[in-house]
Symmetry: C5
Subunit: 289 residues, 5 copies
């Protein structure tokens, strides 16, 4: 689990626990927590929410989503800047030595999606075939990620619903069995617990994780879009500078400035080593900026 998710959830629980303890009589009061544990309430809230989710989604997808969630939450997220650098250097090599010379580099790559795309270029597939295959695959990756988010959203929707159902159950039971005032209050307190469980689970766990999965998925899709564009530009045989200018449009301004500074230094070195390219390469970035 990535550190922000973990810290966010832990600190959230601690702050709310602190808020509960400070409400006690004298200073911090640990006995307050006794009011917040009730096993039958947990059965109703979480049992109901999980079973509704199991009806809603095939079992394989419910189990699979925890794998996706874990993978997406831990994955450090590849650097777009790194991918762009790889493409620029592949582009330079391909221009000098041809696509077949890339085979060794490609085999060593970690990114499975990029490796397969580049292998198709080396194999001499045409652009339409490559674009078609890679975009179909991207669509399906998005689809699978969306199912993962949907399952967490379902958990975050069913939890408060069964919390509310549990509270109604508690009220019905309390109203039926009421004898003295104290029992009413205790009954009410227990009845409200399911609403508390459901809301905490939804707003501190399920819905924020669904949101994080969405963000992570968008980042992964963006990197894969850069890869598809890079593979197609590589195959079309553009100059490394054009490759770079095209892919850098995907960067945020801050990242682009850093990349430009680095690249400028590198380019000056290169300019000393090899003669300038013909026409297309006179990029805006190389003009006394």
């Amino acid at each position: 689990m990535d550190i922000t998710t973990f810290i966010g959830a832990t600190v959230g629980f601690l702050l709310i626990a602190l808020g509960i303890m400070l409400r006690g009589a004298g200073g911090i009061d640990f006995t307050q927590f006794l009011a917040f544990y009730n096993f039958p309430s947990m059965l109703i809230t979480f049992g109901g929410a999980i079973c509704a989710t199991l009806i809603n989604y095939p079992l394989s997808q419910v189990l699979g989503v925890f794998k996706i969630a874990k993978k997406v939450l831990t994955e450090p997220g590849e650097s777009t800047v790194g991918i762009i650098e790889q493409f620029v250097s592949l582009c330079q090599k391909a221009r000098k030595e041809g696509f077949l010379a890339l085979e060794e580099d490609v085999k060593k790559m970690d990114n499975d999606f990029m490796r397969r795309g580049l292998q198709m270029v080396i194999d001499g597939q045409d652009a339409d075939f490559i674009r078609n295959l890679m975009e179909t695959e991207l669509t399906f990756i998005q689809e699978r990620h969306k199912v993962g988010q949907e399952i967490f959203i379902a958990l975050g929707t069913y939890s408060p619903a069964f919390g509310m159902i549990g509270t109604i159950i508690g009220l019905i039971l309390m109203l039926r069995n009421l004898q003295d005032q104290a029992q009413i209050a205790a009954g009410m307190a227990v009845a409200l617990l399911t609403t508390f469980y459901g809301a905490m689970a939804a707003y501190l766990i399920f819905l924020p994780i669904a949101g994080k999965l969405k963000r992570r998925s968008e980042e992964e899709i963006l990197i894969k879009e850069v890869i598809i564009r890079g593979v197609l530009l590589l195959q079309s045989g553009v100059a490394p500078s054009v490759m770079e200018a095209n892919l850098q449009a995907y960067l945020s301004p801050a990242l682009r400035k850093a990349a430009l500074a680095k690249e400028k230094a590198a380019r000056e070195q290169m300019a000393a080593e090899k003669p300038p390219e013909e026409g297309t390469a006179s990029q805006q970035t190389s003009e006394g900026k």
Copy 2:
């Protein structure tokens, strides 16, 4: 009914029942359930919800949806992998013996949609005609599935609404007839029952089933998209390896890896039997992976 749906609903009911019993005085208390049965409350909640749904949708569609639901919930879901294998072997046969040779195989197929698509190829229809007919049909299948989901969503929306209406009815009657304290409590308990019925029906039955129908529909549509692509590729006369690479983009990575392993073994056998194809077939998958 498929097993997860059934188990999910049953376990959900049992867990909530257990939660109710554990709330009783001593250990597990079966008399608690007496508080949860009230016939007039059921009339109001389910009678209202079903009648509102009957106004909302034509009777034929309301009746038809249970058929669709049953079919979609039981259908084992055809394997995409199996469909792809069928297309690859049809493709090999068609290359050697022509489309007319496929007629025997096609007639034995279970999948009605695939059989009719292939029959059009054998009949020599042109690609636009085939694509047009199959895509129009797909659109209408989607439309019918959507109506099915909408009806369950309507039931899941009207149930809590009439549950709420029932509770208001109960409160009005209680407030009008109140004499002693005990009667107020009993009246409140009965009034809350309709909200309980409505929420349980919506969140444990109708909305999760609507969700499951959506999932199943997406799976069926995916398979039909693979079939349309396969039929059109077959008609265009591509090599079996191109057919396979194209259709495998629709698989999840796990399924693709399994399929690749299997295919590699098969291909090595084939390579021993027949000479390699010309150019297009040098797929990335056949390179020492």
Copy 3:
């Protein structure tokens, strides 16, 4: 009003009335209903909802919508199968005798949209002109239907809102004037009545009728799409069998099977009478199925 809408609303009211009566003291108790009539509450709920709708929509559209609603709810819904049969027979006649021979048949048609489309074919308009006019008209029919649904949805949104406003008014008045306990209870009961009126009107009348209008509109649009396709195919001079295959893709599987059986019988007869067409007509349906 079509029978399901009427029955649904009536049975819904009866079931809820039965639920109310069964809540009474001994068996069925008609005096319970006295609690549910209050004229000022009706003024607030329905007066408010109708006035808000009149601000929201121009008067002419609010009045017009009841006409649309009535027309759409009563119209028996033309049969798509019948439309397809008409097109196939027109197609056969046009092939033998030319478009001008259709003039007599066209003048006798009930469907105004189809008649005007076919008249344009007879008048020799070109395909783009016909498609353009018919599709613009279809867009505007959809637009008008959408306004009808929106007005019922507005009524179904404003009713519970003014029901809630009425309840708050009732509570404020009750709290200001409270003297003895009994009066509080009676005041509460009256205050809740507006919420009851608003919810019943919304969930048993307005929202289900909005839903039914949507369904009916979709059916009408589908038939008009079949007509546009049929008119354009007719004008392009396709064979009757191609016309039939194209239009049948719009049918549900059940309807298609019935139509196929019928058509097969007819085709066998026809085959005995006239020589087979050239190439395009060797449909999949005519092959030993």
Copy 4:
């Protein structure tokens, strides 16, 4: 302000006031209204809602929206039928005397959008340039109208929200200062007033006006679409009958029938005066209907 909006709001307020008065002790009771005025409650509800809207939208847009609202609510709405008639007569004149002859008529037109479009035709701009300019302008008109609707929707969302906040404030103050029973009831009544203000403002004023703005905007956009089509058809030099048939597809059936009857009479007159046009003009509407 147009009359329906004004009448709707006035009648709505009167009906609800009547409902309040009829709830009093004997017949109609004007002293009931004293319960519904409280200055601090108004400060909280409307002050909060207006300030939140001022944070949400730039000041210039909030001020501008009342101008748009006023203009859109008063504008009588141009008649689509009139616009079509103008185009047909311009078309006839242009055919006989050329585009330059239109200059005098165009200068006298009220509709600024139509005048500028026609002026571009007279100036000899090409079709792409005209379409581009007019469609860009249409997009921006839509955009500005949408901002107007959004501001009213914001007011209609923030009003009940601050009404609810006011009620919570009232409850907190009441609970802190409670001494005797009567004070509790009075405190509750005052606390509920903000909810009442917020809900009335939202459901009787802001949201219905937002809805009316949307309707009016759609009507204005439709007329502008007819104008764009008319200008482009005029420039392409079509026959007046083709112009008419094309633009009438934008009319509702009722309006179209009226227009057809009128036009038929006019056409018969014209037919007596000038020889029939060549081919394209033999419209369906001119055939013995």
Copy 5:
């Protein structure tokens, strides 16, 4: 922070504070505020909402959003009219002296996006390359702005949610510890505070700021769209008058009228200085208006 946002928030707080004070016993009562401060309630509401947002979004984006928010809220917003004037004068200069003559002007520009676009024109890049790069960048700017809005919407969603959770916690604790009446009321008052905090933060701060960010983003995107269009028109070498007519379609009518008046004066001057352009330039705006 821009002045409207600041004033709106301040006045909103003051009005609500005034409403609270006026509710006191005699005139304005400052001691009322004591009821609205409670540290544990703040911990639960804001601690919970911020932690949930930190789980939902990567830390870098949560921190970055305050920078975006600050930048977007303070930026005076460039004038579209000014941008259009710059493009017209660049266009005139380019026509007379060629693109290279623009280099000095371009280097002095403040707008980074415009400067880079124009530099590409000077560098002789082709139109597709320029459009592609600028539109990709625009898409990503929109994406980053959207993340900023989403984070404020998340804060505005989680705040009332944790306010509600805090109130349930307060109720559970109160019900468990109740001894005398006064304590119940105090407990209730404290329990409601979290709902008050959550609602105030959401409706007076987070959601309106999210709305303002959306507006500002739309303005910035509009200006960037004008710039892209201007850069592409400049590169295609159109006449200054065509440039002006095209870009003015993006102005609101009020701004356009002001611009037209100004431009007309300028044009009359220009007409005296240089001979009229050939054909395309005889704009509608230059005809005796």
